[in-house]
């Protein structure tokens, strides 16, 4: 017996609104994070990721309010990332109702941040978000929305982050993100076999078969965004397809 494989919708939030063109049927307002998160929970989502893409202090304030209102209706886990630079930033998100906090660029700049957050809140709260770009031989960590290469080897970075205190890795293929060409299975396999913590596959999903392949490559969960937001499919349909493919999911 193992854990069920998770299907996790991701909502990009800016100034308190969902961005990236959400087009649902049946919602009064497709840009409302509370309505989106609630809809996905009813469809059977195992968890919700909120990614705050605001660039301003005002936007960050909106993000805390968004976390509070989503938390008040959501009875599944809520993982929040974007702009976390200190344990106090993480603490504010957790206090507002996040269950886990994702750190990305700030952890690359100062890896000790991972341990500081894990020591204070536990490693199960501490999610390392990694954006990976394919290189000649290995994957390289990129930051600042893919604009900046870091020279860090993705597998080595994940191994180090887990040793310091990361309890989960949200692994995004920068090459696949938004392409709908499927997850980078080699990347998932390389990272999930190098660490003992769960790995969430992200970037490139378009069909149920893509999710199944990511799970089979070693991912504990599959992150999805545009295929849901565009109304192409539902969490329920994806999970039924995973079940039919022999992958254990929570019904």
């Amino acid at each position: 017996m193992t854990l069920a494989s998770r299907v996790i919708p991701c909502l990009d939030i800016k100034d308190g609104r969902v961005v990236k063109g959400v087009r649902f049927q049946g919602l009064r307002d497709a840009g409302d994070p509370v309505e989106c998160a609630g809809l996905y929970e009813r469809q059977g989502a195992d968890e919700i990721v909120l990614l705050d893409v605001s660039a301003t202090p005002e936007g960050r304030g909106h993000a805390l309010e968004t976390v509070r209102t989503v938390r008040s209706v959501l009875s599944i886990p809520l993982s929040v990332g974007g702009g976390v630079k200190s344990p106090d930033d993480a603490g504010r998100l957790l206090e507002a109702g996040a269950d886990k906090v994702g750190i990305n660029t700030a952890a690359v700049s100062r890896p000790a941040l991972i341990g500081e957050i894990a020591d204070r809140f536990g490693n199960q709260c501490t999610v390392l978000a990694v954006d990976a770009a394919a290189g000649a031989a290995v994957w390289e960590v990129v930051v600042e929305s893919g604009r900046k290469r870091t020279g860090l080897d993705v597998v080595e970075w994940c191994r180090k982050a887990v040793a310091i205190g990361a309890g989960e890795i949200l692994l995004t293929s920068w090459d696949r993100d938004g392409t709908r060409s499927g997850y980078d299975l080699d990347l998932i396999s390389a990272v999930s076999s190098a660490v003992t913590v769960p790995v969430i596959a992200s970037g490139g999903a378009a069909r149920p078969g893509h999710l199944a392949a990511a799970i089979e490559a070693g991912a504990s969960a599959a992150l999805i965004a545009s295929i849901l937001h565009d109304g192409d499919t539902t969490v329920g349909k994806l999970k039924r397809a995973l079940g039919e493919a022999g992958i254990m999911v929570r019904p």
Binding site: M1, T2, P77, G97, D99, F121, N123, G167, S220
Partner: protein, 198 residues
């Protein structure tokens, strides 16, 4: 009802879940609150030792132990459940509430740790609160046997472990009922009904 401010991170989620079910939740300011409150919630994520330090610094340990020993309505979640034990491999040297004569151990090798995600829960014989279903877990440590005098529910993560304990109106969950969807809400509601009846 009263929630113990363990200084850990799932308090907002626990309060939100209980509020959705109509409960009014306040933070415990003193041992007197723990003694007199109709129901007490002991949340907890993070480290065993840090949560116990917090309870000790607030002077709540004796009051918690006494109400649990008396089977009064008490809900312990995740590390909150582990705190009932004598000690934990997570924080050597730190003492728990010692309601149970158990040591909390780490999951073995060959399995993803933390256990993070949804796992099946099978209620123990005579369980009043737990029904079979899927619960959300986020833990690296667990109890591996049911202490005498308690009803234990079980789950499997590379070996069976104790996913819930109950005795009287005390319910301790290794999983997070507040994050376990409708199943978790029904579990909390059954416990709240006991609180009202008590």
């Amino acid at each position: 009802m009263t929630i113990v401010p363990t200084g850990t991170a799932n308090t907002a989620s626990v309060v939100a879940a209980l509020t959705r079910l109509g409960a009014a939740v306040d933070e415990a300011a003193s041992a007197g609150d723990v003694e007199t409150s109709s129901a007490v919630v002991l949340p907890g994520v993070g480290a065993f030792g840090a949560a116990m330090d917090r309870i000790d610094s607030l002077g709540l340990a004796t009051a918690l132990r006494e109400r649990i020993d008396a089977n009064r309505p008490t809900l312990a979640v995740c590390v909150g459940m582990q705190l009932l034990s004598r000690d934990s491999e997570e924080s050597p040297g730190a003492s728990g509430l010692k309601v149970l004569e158990e040591t909390v151990g780490r999951f073995g090798d060959g399995v993803k740790v933390p256990q993070m995600g949804w796992n099946r829960v099978e209620p123990g014989a005579g369980s009043r609160f737990v029904e079979p279903g899927w619960a959300y877990f986020a833990n690296s440590y667990r109890l591996d046997r049911v202490p005498e005098g308690w009803v234990g529910s079980s789950s499997d993560h590379c070996g069976e472990f104790v996913s819930a304990l109950e005795k009287g109106d005390v319910l301790a969950c290794q999983f997070h009922p507040e994050l376990s969807g409708d199943w978790g809400a029904r579990l909390l509601d059954r416990w709240l009904q006991r609180v009202e009846a008590a």
